[in-house]
Amino acid sequence: MADVLRVSGLSKHYGRLEAVRGIGFSVRAGEVFALIGPNGAGKTTTLRMVATILQPSAGAIELDGIDVVSDPASARARLSYLPEEAGAYKSMRGREYLRFMAEVFFDDRERQTESLASAAEISGLGDRLDDKIGTYSKGMARKLLLARAIMTRPKLAILDEPTSGLDVLGALDVRDTIKEFTRSGMAVLLSSHNMLEIEYLSDRVSVIHQGTIHATGTPAELKERFGADNLEEVFAEVAR
């Protein structure tokens, strides 16, 4: 499979603080690529730079052949971003929110209807989609937001803690949905503190610490390299 995302020499400075220090990785079509690391490692900053909402201090990001830094508008049409603490417009109804997103992404009414139906199914919210988002539980809101993130079948879905706030069954549903969408070619750039989730979902993983990538490989390769039984041990080894 071809690379959908190529990141090279990517850095981000906030004044004197170097949040990301010249990292590089790539994500193939249909692949789930995870960034793991402790808090403040630079994961969210990296995801935000790829999502075009932060500008890199240095380096290059190429999405589907487009230079994200010089042509963010074209990049935005090909990606979707689910931030860790994302919210939705509370005064809107669930269906209204999804329709708004569909109308922004697609000119064609047929595609709008199609993606709206797809989102309704992914969310699993049924009739509750006709209720105000302000009345949703945290888990329901997260499902709605995930549905919003992948309803447009983007080339790249950037998911920061996608199952945050979900119960076990909800989280399982979401993971299955992500897997299903990647089978149709969608690439996923993922970040999560749940190592079981990372191990279950990811094809490849990069361990990032203090703005630098320390290791990249499949979960099995990383475990073998660090002599660990699971990814939590790999994580701990790098973080120490």
């Binding site: 999502a51 500008q55 935005r76 979707s80 919210g87 417009y89 509370k90 005064s91 922004v104």
Partner: protein, 431 residues
């Protein structure tokens, strides 16, 4: 364009929430209700005017005085005591408000053409404007009596002289000049006319700008507070479309709100006028001198006035948008937009009380540097035929707008929107 309209629809819907609508509807209803209540109270008070009369003269002249007071709509009750002081105390104790005492010798004094006395006792229980209406009506009735008496005395004792001459020996004829035009009218009349013509402009402008500024700043801060901003920024909509949609939605909602506010205000003022017994007077005389002096506005003038006001609203919107971008949450918005409200209030009050051009140079240029000043000065300038000043002012406002739009665009296209946050409460704590 289609995406922009989708976004604009969403922004308008977000702004029209019960939290925003409810205080608004309540304010308008309050204005209307207060106007109606005051109006009804005034009408009722006018229909139930009462006073106590102590007639110690009991002559034909005092009877004529009684008839004149009754003619002014008062129901007369006889005073409770023959002594004026006691009668006044009894009036106060019984809840009455006015006692008129006609002393003995009133009629005789008038017959001898010597000054006669009437004593009026007023009990003050409140300082409301409405409470003074009875006294005003009595004063008008007494003035009428005085003029009638004066006329009679002059006819009887100075038949050789025209009573009109004695009453008004020096006729002052006022002429007012505006530019090279002039009319026979008093300066006060012209000022009152211009005041009624231009009174609404600064109020409308102030209300619209305040509402629009708050709405747009709150719209941005809400996106941050509800964590929807990052998603919005990663969507395939240009940053300029996001900025414009937010400003336009706030402007539209503010305009509609201001229109509703003005309707409420109108009902309120109408109620008040009815309460004070004032009705719309014929304006034909007023327009006659206004035409002579060129103090009328044509379609082009109104277009220029609209342009100046619209430009001021745009400037307020973009300033608020920038300030809202620095707010960490909705609470912080109120503090952050205070500088803009001050910028708005300075020209509002200055132009209300003084001529900006008569200020000392530093003060004058400082006030003129504020873009909103030119919108407040537009209506008076148009009446004085200074259209070029209005156009220059509007151009100055639009120049501010253009610069600020570039600044806003830079902020929205950069990391600052997400990374720069001002939390005034936190800053105060840190101090």
């Amino acid at each position: 364009m289609r995406r922009f309209l989708v976004l604009l629809r969403k922004e308008v819907k977000e702004l029209i929430t019960p939290q925003i609508l409810l205080p608004f509807v309540i304010t308008i209803m309050m204005f209307a209700v207060i106007g109606q209540v005051v109006g009804a109270e005034g009408e009722e008070a006018a229909a139930n005017r009462r006073l106590a009369l102590l007639d110690r003269d009991r002559t034909e002249a005092s009877s004529a005085l009684r008839a004149a007071i009754e003619g002014a709509g008062f129901t007369i009750e006889e005073a409770a005591d023959d002594d004026a002081g006691e009668a006044a105390r009894a009036l106060s104790a019984s809840g009455g408000s006015i006692l008129v005492v006609v002393p003995e010798g009133y009629g005789a004094a008038l017959g001898d053409a010597t000054p006669a006395r009437i004593e009026v006792y007023s009990v003050i229980r409140t300082f409301s404007v409405m409470s003074g209406q009875d006294s005003a009506a009595l004063s008008a009735a007494l003035l009428q009596v005085e003029q009638t008496v004066a006329q009679e005395v002059m006819t009887e004792h100075a038949a050789a002289i025209d009573p009109a001459f004695i009453k008004d020996p020096l006729a002052v004829v006022d002429h007012v000049m505006v530019g090279d035009r002039q009319a026979q009218v008093s300066r006060d009349t012209v000022m009152a006319f211009i005041s009624t013509q231009t009174m609404l402009v600064p109020i409308v402008l102030f209300v619209v700008v305040m509402f629009a500024a708050q709405m747009v700043a709150v719209a941005i801060a809400t996106e941050k507070e509800n964590k929807t901003l990052e998603t919005l920024l990663a969507m395939p909509i240009s940053r300029s479309a996001i900025v414009t949609a937010k400003m336009m939605a706030a402007g539209l909602v503010a305009l509609v709100s201001a229109a509703a506010y003005m309707v409420g205000m109108n009902i309120y003022m109408k109620g008040l006028m009815e309460g004070f017994g004032e009705t719309g007077t014929s304006t034909s005389a007023a327009t006659a001198f206004a035409d002579q002096l060129g103090l009328t506005l044509g379609v082009g003038d109104y277009a220029m006035l609209g342009l100046s006001m619209f430009a001021a609203i745009l400037v307020a919107l973009v300033i608020s948008l920038i300030l809202g971008a620095f707010a960490e949450n909705v609470k912080a918005v109120q503090s952050l937009i205070t500088p803009m409200i001050v910028l708005l209030m300075v020209p509002y009050f200055v132009s209300m009380f003084v001529d900006v051009n008569s200020l000392a140079p530093v003060a004058r240029w400082t006030v003129l540097a504020i873009p909103f000043t030119h919108a407040f000065l537009a209506a008076p300038n148009l009446f004085l035929g200074n259209a070029h000043m209005v156009l220059l002012g509007a151009a100055y406002e639009l120049a501010w707008f253009a610069v600020l739009v570039v600044v806003a665009g830079r902020i929205f296209s950069s990391d600052r929107l997400l990374t720069m946050r001002l939390n005034l409460a936190k800053l105060k704590k840190q101090r």
